[in-house]
Each structure stands twice: as C-alpha cells, then as structure tokens.
C-alpha cells in the first residue's frame, strides 16, 4: 500500500498549497506532516499539479518542502450507536475525551474516534438470510438510550443486495460483523452484475454497526420527500401561534448582536417537540455551549422523563477554534441529523450562527484570491446556503415510516442590517423568518421577534380567524402608535387609543414571554390555544371608557393580572380564579351598545 504524497509549496494562514504527482480528489482529506504530528486538511481547489488545501489546524511551524499525505477519503463522519449525548468539535472529535487526553487546551493534530470502540451494544437482527436489502434498510436494532437505533445497510450500497449472513442476537461492538451481503437481489440481476467487468471484484460485503459518510453529500436513502405540514411545537408562544415551524421545515433567525438569537435557540433546544436535537455551535462563544453541556445532563425532558442530554448531540466549533473546521461543523451536524432521520425519528438541527460559517467561506475565498462578490463573500455563497437548507425535509423512508430534519439557523448580519448577503440568501430558501428587532430587545420585549415583519409559510396551531384578528389589532395598534408620534395623544381619538392599548396588551401578555420563569417560560400547545382564544375574545370586545387615562389604567391592571395568569400553572386553582377575575374586569368595561 502506498500513500499518495505531495510537497508543500506555500502557506498563507490556514491555506496550504501542495504540489502532487498522482491524482487527487476534490474535498479529499490529507495530512500535513509536522514532526510526529499530522495536521488534517481538505483539498478545496486543484490547478494543474498544485492543490490548495484548507488546514483544519493552526499552521505555525509548517515549512515549504514539507510532506503531505493524501488519504483518498472525502471528509466524513462516523455513524453508529453511541452518538447521542456526545460533544464533538467540527470534525467530530469527542471533546471530553480530548480533554482527558490533552488537558485544558485543544492540541492540534490529536484526532480521536467519534464512536467508542470498546462499548458493546445489545443487537437484535431484524432480517433473515436470503432477504433482499437496499441502502438504508434496517438489518437490526440496538437500544440507544430511549431510542431504538436502527442498524442500517450501508448508505453507499448501489442496487439490491442479498443478506447472506445475519449475526444472532447478542452483544457486539461497533466494529464487529453483524451481517454479510452479496450483490444482487435476484438471479437475473446477480447475473447481470457478474457479467460486468467489475462484477468479480464484488465479493460479499461484511457489515458492522459502524459506517462512515462524507459530510458534504446528503444521505438520500428514502422513498420520497414530502411537504412539511405538521407543526413543530417549541412552547414559545410567538413562534407556535404567529410564526410556526413545521417538522421538516426550515427557518432562520437573523438579528443584531444581543437581540436574543442564542437564547431563542437554547429555549428551542430544551422545549422543542422532537426526538433528537443537534446543536451546531458554529463560530460563536464557547461559554454559551458550556451552559448547554453543563446543564442538559441535569435537566429532565418532560416528554421522556430522561435527561435532555440523552436526546442531544452538540457539535461545537466555537469562534477561537480553527476556522476551516468551523466550516465543516454545520455539515457534520446535518449529516448526524440525516442519520437519525433514517431511523424514522424527528430531528431538529440548530445552527448558531450560519454567518460564521459563511465568514469561514469568505476567509478561504479571500486566501484563494477568488473574485469577490458582495461584501467580499464568494460568488457561490447563495448556492452553498441553499443546498445546506435543502438538507432539511420530511421524508417517507423505504419501510413507509417517516422521518424529518428541521433546520433552524441564526444569522448574524453585519451592522444588524438584513440587506446583507447571508441574510438575503437565507431568506430565499427558508420556510419561516423570525427577524429579531434591536428596538424590542432594548425595551426588554423578549423574545424580540418582530411581530409585523416576521413571517412563516407553515400552519399555526390556532384557528386562522383568530390569528387574523390578532394580526389586525397588532397592525392597527402600530399605526395608531406611529400616528401618536406625529399628532400626540391629544390628537388621537379615544377609539384609536383603545386599539393601541389592546395591541400593547397582546404584546405584553402573549408575544412577550419570560424565558427564565418556570411556568411562563414554556407554554404547551394546549395552553396556547386556550389562552389565545380567550385573549382574542378580549381584543374583539368593544369597550367604553370615560377618557384615555381611565383606559390606560384599566389596561395596566389587566396586563398585570394576565401576567400573573401566565405565571400560574394551568392545573392550579388560581388559574381559573384569575380567569374569572379577568372576565369580570372585561365585563365591567364592555360597551353593550
């Protein structure tokens, strides 16, 4: 076995130029040899006998003339039981294991297997010898925490194969053989294959629980892709009611710094009604990931009664970690998501922030001296973003079960201006837009999603008519507010003023939500429907007041009591007491005329 080698001919930051003799593959992994460490890199451009590689590590110390070893493998991740609950870097190195080995700091050139090799899993075969299988078909299962983890025929298989050997039920490590496959599904096809020139090489294939998959290629072992419809409940009222997310849908959260993107994602990662959450912490603060990885093992998932960590995978390539690995991290995340989708599970991928990924592309593009597009982003930015979000979706698998990958990405626009390339490219492809507003954040109106500018193409959990009424009130209230800025309160009619107060009321008691309150922090779909219906009733009630001061006072009190209501558990007796009180209050000001 000879490894293909090349020679370093240039270094510029994390860009390494290599002269090579034999063939190289675009996106192939290679290692730069530096003493007794090897630094991982990926081929990103080939010109003549020179390849440009992005190095996933600090390049300090590399020299012209140094050796580079090509692997012939595309940048890939390992897929097997044992992924859940783990914390990886962008290249799928397990960070806690790295810490055990290297201590406080990340050490370049240290790569560890993502999946523990020594752990045995209780395997139960699902198919018998003679069965015909295709890529992605279930061969057997192992329990992984609360899930039945399907062990699937390699996603790389082409055509039909016949199961020749199925390992009996028992404990196996991920590298042990659990099945052998023979090419060809039935006699005719098998003959066809064996006549082909490559046929003879296709001996039987030994299959273990572990497979690898190149991160930049979507896994497509399913029967069909469907249109997302079913709502994905986040327990955040302004989302589920006004700007819903669908299972298998995509959405983005652009907002200036400090507007609440990360908090929103953290809340979603806790409360979202999905089987598995994959958090891709891409190029932002390490501290934010620490909160998640320290807290999740101690938080119970109300859906399962187990810890949240058991349904979570964290892919963490924070801002001071190598930039090229940051680019890889979102792909690592989405590939893991697709893998669990193949098991008929609903997976949510949260990427914070996709702008950092785009910036990593920009940094590389600049070093490659490509012709820059707007704000120096590469010209292919749009298509890269589009194909990333395209990896979301709900699919019908070959065994007729359904699985979904929902993708929610934050966007960090330069200067908070949404007219920038990353936001614009993202808006073209997503199904919902949760635009965060600096003004709302400044006024502590959290979550600071702009109620008039945001949109969603997905179905809400509340009836259309109620939603329309609430929207009309919000819009009209905003118009009155604008008008008052010009004409003053005295130039505004009492009727208009009440519309304004109603809009402010809905904002304060429904759109705003106290993320840190144990009850208000998460509102179930049932409670949302109930409360929203009730509030819409109040909005639709004609009211009579002596003057504006009385009206304001009334709504201030109403707001306060409704907030108390939000903080009361639905099953507590106080819940209906407060409801009755609200009813009484509204009755007193109702205009019967």
């Amino acid at each position: 076995m000879t490894t293909k080698r090349g020679t370093i001919s240039g270094i510029n930051g994390n860009l390494m130029t290599v002269e090579f003799e034999d063939a190289v593959i675009q996106n192939e992994v290679a290692y730069a040899v530096l003493g007794d460490t090897r630094l991982k890199a990926e081929v990103i451009r080939v010109r003549g006998r020179r390849a440009d590689l992005q190095v996933f590590e600090d390049t300090t110390g590399l020299q012209v003339g140094g050796t580079v070893e090509f692997t012939g493998q595309l940048l890939s991740v390992e897929l097997a039981p044992g992924l859940l609950g783990q914390i990886f870097d962008g290249l799928q190195n397990p960070l806690p294991k790295l810490a055990e080995q290297c201590g406080f700091f990340l050490k370049r050139g240290t790569y560890l297997p993502a999946i523990p090799r020594d752990r045995a899993w209780a395997y139960t075969p699902a198919v018998k010898p003679g069965a015909i299988v295709r890529a992605g078909d279930t061969l057997g299962t192992v329990p992984e925490g609360i899930f039945t983890h399907r062990i699937m025929a390699p996603f790389t298989l082409a055509g039909s194969w016949t199961l020749e050997y199925a390992a009996p039920a028992g404990n196996y490590t991920v590298e042990q053989e659990i099945a052998r496959l023979r090419p060809g599904g039935y006699a005719g096809q098998a003959r066809l294959r064996s006549n082909s020139p490559r046929g003879r090489e296709q001996e039987t294939l030994s299959v273990s629980m572990l497979q690898t998959w190149p991160v930049k290629i979507p896994i497509r072992c399913y029967a069909e892709r469907l249109k997302p419809g079913e709502p994905l409940i986040t327990k955040i009222r302004i989302l589920d009611t006004f700007f819903p997310v669908a299972r298998g849908g995509t959405y983005c959260i652009p907002g200036p710094f400090g507007a609440g993107k990360t908090v929103l994602q953290q809340l979603t990662s806790r409360h979202a009604d999905v089987d598995i959450v994959i958090i891709a912490a891409c190029g932002e603060r390490a501290g934010e990931v620490v909160e998640t990885l320290r807290e999740f093992p101690h938080l119970t998932d109300p859906r399962t009664g187990r810890t949240l960590m058991e349904r979570t995978i964290i892919v963490c390539n924070t801002s001071s970690m190598p930039v090229a690995a940051r680019e890889a991290s979102v792909y690592t995340g989405v590939t893991l998501a697709e893998y669990y989708r193949q098991m008929g599970l609903n997976v949510l991928l949260l990427a914070d922030s996709t702008s950092r990924w785009a910036q990593a592309l920009r940094e590389m593009s600049g070093r490659l001296e490509e012709i820059p597009g707007e704000e120096a982003f590469p010209a292919y930015l749009e298509s890269v973003i589009a194909s990333f979000y395209e990896r979301g979706g709900i699919v019908r698998l070959n065994d007729k079960t359904f699985g979904s990958v929902t993708i929610g990405g934050t966007v960090s626009p330069a200067g908070g201006n949404f007219e920038e390339p990353v936001t614009q490219a993202t808006l073209k492809v997503v199904g919902a837009f949760h635009g965060l507003s600096r003004d709302r954040a400044n006024a502590r109106r959290f979550p600071s999603i702009h109620p008039l500018e945001s949109w969603s193409k997905y179905r809400s959990i509340v009836p259309r008519t109620e939603l329309d009424l609430a929207r009309r009130v919000l819009r009209a209230g905003n118009e009155v507010d604008q008008m008052m800025k010009v004409l003053g309160e005295e130039g505004t009619s009492l009727a208009d003023f009440v519309i304004y107060l109603k809009a402010e009321y809905l904002d304060a008691v429904y759109l705003q939500q106290d993320a840190y309150h144990p009850v208000d922090g998460a509102t179930s779909a049932e409670r949302q429907k109930y409360v929203f219906h009730y509030l819409v009733g109040i909005l639709g009630t004609p009211m009579k007041f002596a003057d504006k001061a009385v009206a304001r006072k009334f709504f201030q009190t109403l707001t306060q009591i409704t907030k108390d209501w939000n903080e009361t558990p639905q099953e507590a007796p106080a819940f209906s007491e407060i409801e009755a009180r609200l009813k009484q209050m509204v009755a007193e000001v109702t205009d019967d005329a």
């Binding site: 110390g61 590399l62 990340l106 710094f257 400090g258 390490a286 620490v290 001071s320 600049g366 502590r444």
Partner: protein, 441 residues
C-alpha cells in the same frame, strides 16, 4: 545553526520579502535595520519567497540587510518577576527594571477545550448601579466598553479594576496616549495595586506591528497565572487600534477587504483574543475588560460590530454615563438569581419604565400635552438619571435595589409598574413603615 539571509527582494509597508529555505510558518527572525535590529515574523510562504512582518517597521531597511531566523515563533517570558513591572507591547522593559527572559512561553496558543470550561458564577461588584443592578459583571466575562474617543473609558476601566476582587491585573495598552499610560500607572500605584499588576504598553508613538502582539502577550501571561489558580483581570485598551493595525497589514498583503478596508477574518482575529477569557475547571480565571472606540459613534462600524458578536455584552459609555439601552451583560442571569430575590424585577421594570420615559420625553420635545402618566414618567426618568445613572454614584448592590424601589414608589402606583403582585406585596415601600418615598440618598 544560524541561518542568515541578505537578499531582500521587496519592501512594502511593514512587510519585507526575501528568498530563504527551511523557514517555518510564523517563525521569528531578527532583521538588522539602521541603528539596531528588529524582530520580524513570517506571515506568508510561497516557494522560497518568505514574507516577514517587521515589528519596528521597515523605515531605513536596506535591500542587503541581514535577516537571521531564530527557529521559533513569538514567545514571551512568564515569571512572578513580571509583577509590578511595565513593558512595551512586545515585552521589552519600559521601566528601569531588568530584562526578563526566563521561562519563555508561546503566545497566541490554542483555545481552551470547551469541555474544560465551567459556567461562570461569581459576581464582580463594582459599586456602579448601572453595572451591578442592570448589567452585572461576572468573573471570566469578556466585555468591552463602547464609546467615542474622549469619553472617560480609561478611568472607568481603572475604577472597575481597583474595585474588583481579583488577584492580578494585566493591562494591555494599544496605541495608548502617553498620558493615559501614566494615568494607569499612577492610579494603580496610588491605590497600592501596582505590585499585583503587569503593564504591557504600546503607545501611539510605537511601531504599529508591535500593537498586534500586545493582546497576545498580555493574554498569554494571564493564562499562565490563571492556570496557577489566580483570578486575573486583563484590561485591553483600545481594541480599535489593534483592529486598525490588522487592517494595515491586510492591505499591505493585498488581501481583499470585506468591509471598510478591514480583512475578512477580523471576527476570527478578535475572537481569538477575547475567547481567552475563561473560568477553568479546577484553576483560576481570566476576565477581559476592553475599550473599543467607535469611529463616528457608529456601532455598526466593523470593529464594534464584530466585537459585539464576540463579547459577552458591552457597556455603552455616552455623555459620561453608562447607557441603559444597548448596554448588556450576557452573563448577568448566571449571578443575579442568587443576589437578592427582587434583583431581576428591579432590573427589568426600571428599564421598561425608563424606555417609556424616553417616549414621553420625545412627545414633550415635540410640544405635545403631557398626560398624568407622562408626568409620572418624566419625574421617574429624571430621578433615575440623577440617582442611578450618574457615574459618581458608588453604592453596593443591595442599597441600589432599595433605591430602585424608593424611586418607583415615589413616582408610580404599584399597578403602573407592571410588577407581579407577589413582588409588590413583598417589596413595595410602605410609607407608613417610615420608608421615605422620596430620595433615599
């Protein structure tokens, strides 16, 4: 083995290019310039062409100047002897003390494994209500002061540093005015804090490239102390000068600028420094307070903009006080749950009311009639600004919270504040109990 080269092919900006072999990326070299020598660092390798960034600048370099490669990247010395000393931006003594060369450590080292970080949990008390109450500072936080040049950000940094209970203060000055350097040195000395401080000072008169090294050196030293269990506070002022030095090099190297001339990796460069802030599992911590001046008071300028996305909040210093809007401590919720039960209530309600006050103020400016509610807000806003926002106010957190209740009770009915009933019942000052509703201080 000394590797000496004498053929300089190109001199542009602060970068020289020569032909040499077996040179490592980021290796240091010594270049002989007129009247002395300067360090230089490899910033690009292309075949046998080596681009070197010359620390003292290229002025006076001859094309046959000697360059000697040293075989290692930039280092600084780490020793307890650093305490109480003042150095230049690259670690050369600025005071009369001896040169320190022992125990060289690399600078700009790798990042901390996120799995080895812990959630910050210790509040840093400053006595400034706008910080303690509204945007609590937390040990291991990284936080800049955003302001225009001319605001008292350096005195504010010094005040926080002296009030904070930390073991070691490290000052990284970048493009610092000489007067400001003297101010820091004298203030630390007067308050008896100089012996636990180390100053790395790049002044406006020093070569630009040295400015690029200053934060790395300050942070590398801080990191070593933190690993020994020390609680270190690093002050970096002014990071905009650091960013401008980056810009200068990028332009010399003919990089495609991304935004207003700044290189596309500005975010990553700033993050590499700020992310050194850390609370170590089983060791000490690094807290970073920085100054970021905003050209034209524009927060969307690339430097404050990228900074805001990296740091854990920011304090806006404007007209001599910390602005309630825009100022943010992202870590405050980690500590304000354990200070006093009413802390968060005061924090949220007072700001919401202050926002309403601002609206009333606008209406008044436009000549509209003020309703009774507007009048209450105007009264409230004036008291808030005078009794809370003024930087001269120096009171402990608990006093500030009491003051908050007193101000609100002096201006509003309980229901007008939007505070949950339960909190009102417990904390709203009752006049009969003898608590003065007007002015506690």
């Amino acid at each position: 083995m000394r590797r000496i080269y004498r053929r300089i092919e190109q001199i542009a900006g602060n970068v020289i290019t020569l032909r040499a072999e077996h040179v490592s990326y980021r290796e240091l070299a010594e270049v002989f310039v007129r009247g002395g020598q300067s360090l230089a660092q490899v910033i690009r390798l292309e075949g046998d062409r080596v681009a070197l960034q010359v620390f003292s600048g290229t002025r006076g370099i001859t094309t046959d100047a000697e360059a000697v490669f040293l075989g290692h990247p930039m280092q600084t010395s780490f020793s307890p002897a650093l305490l109480g000393r003042v150095f230049t931006g690259i670690g050369v003594p600025r005071d009369k003390g001896p040169v320190i060369t022992e125990n060289p450590i690399p600078i700009g080292g790798p990042s901390v494994n996120p799995a080895k970080r812990i959630i910050p949990y210790r509040m840093i008390r400053t006595g400034i209500p706008m910080i303690d109450v509204f945007n609590t500072l937390v040990e291991s936080q990284k936080l800049p002061i955003f302001s225009v040049a001319g605001e008292p950000y350096n005195p504010l940094l010094a005040r926080i540093a002296l009030q904070a209970e930390v073991d070691i203060i490290i000052l990284g000055g970048m493009g610092l005015k000489y007067d400001d350097y003297l101010f820091f040195r004298d203030t630390l000395e007067e308050q008896g804090a100089l012996s636990r401080s180390i100053l790395f000072i790049h002044t406006a008169a020093d070569p630009t490239v040295e400015c690029l090294m200053t934060p790395d050196i300050a942070l590398a030293v801080a990191e070593q102390f933190a690993l020994q269990g020390k609680r270190v506070l690093v002050l970096l002022t002014d990071m905009t000068n650091f960013a401008d030095a980056l810009k200068e090099i990028a332009i010399t190297m003919e990089q495609v600028p991304s935004n207003r001339g700044y290189p596309g990796d500005l975010y990553s460069q700033l993050a590499a420094r700020y992310e050194k802030a850390v609370d170590f599992d089983d060791a000490g911590s690094i807290t970073i307070l920085a100054a970021t001046t905003m050209p034209g008071d524009d927060v969307t300028h690339p430097v404050p903009d990228n900074t805001g996305y990296i740091t854990e909040g920011q304090f806006y210093l404007r007209n001599g006080h910390i602005e309630p809007f825009g100022s943010l401590s992202r870590l405050k919720q980690l500590v304000n749950k354990d200070t006093r039960k009413d802390h968060r209530t005061i924090m949220n309600s007072m700001i919401q009311l202050y926002a309403a006050y601002k609206e009333s103020q606008e209406k008044r400016a436009m000549g509209f009639r003020m309703s009774a509610w507007d009048q209450s807000l105007l009264k409230y806003g004036a008291r808030f600004e005078k009794e809370m926002m003024d930087l001269n106010v120096n009171i402990p957190l608990e006093k500030a919270l009491d003051l908050g209740w007193a101000i609100m009770a002096g201006c509003f009915e309980p229901a007008e504040t939007g505070i949950p009933t339960q909190m009102i019942d417990e904390f709203w000052p009752v006049k009969a109990r003898g608590l003065p509703a007007e002015g506690l201080v």
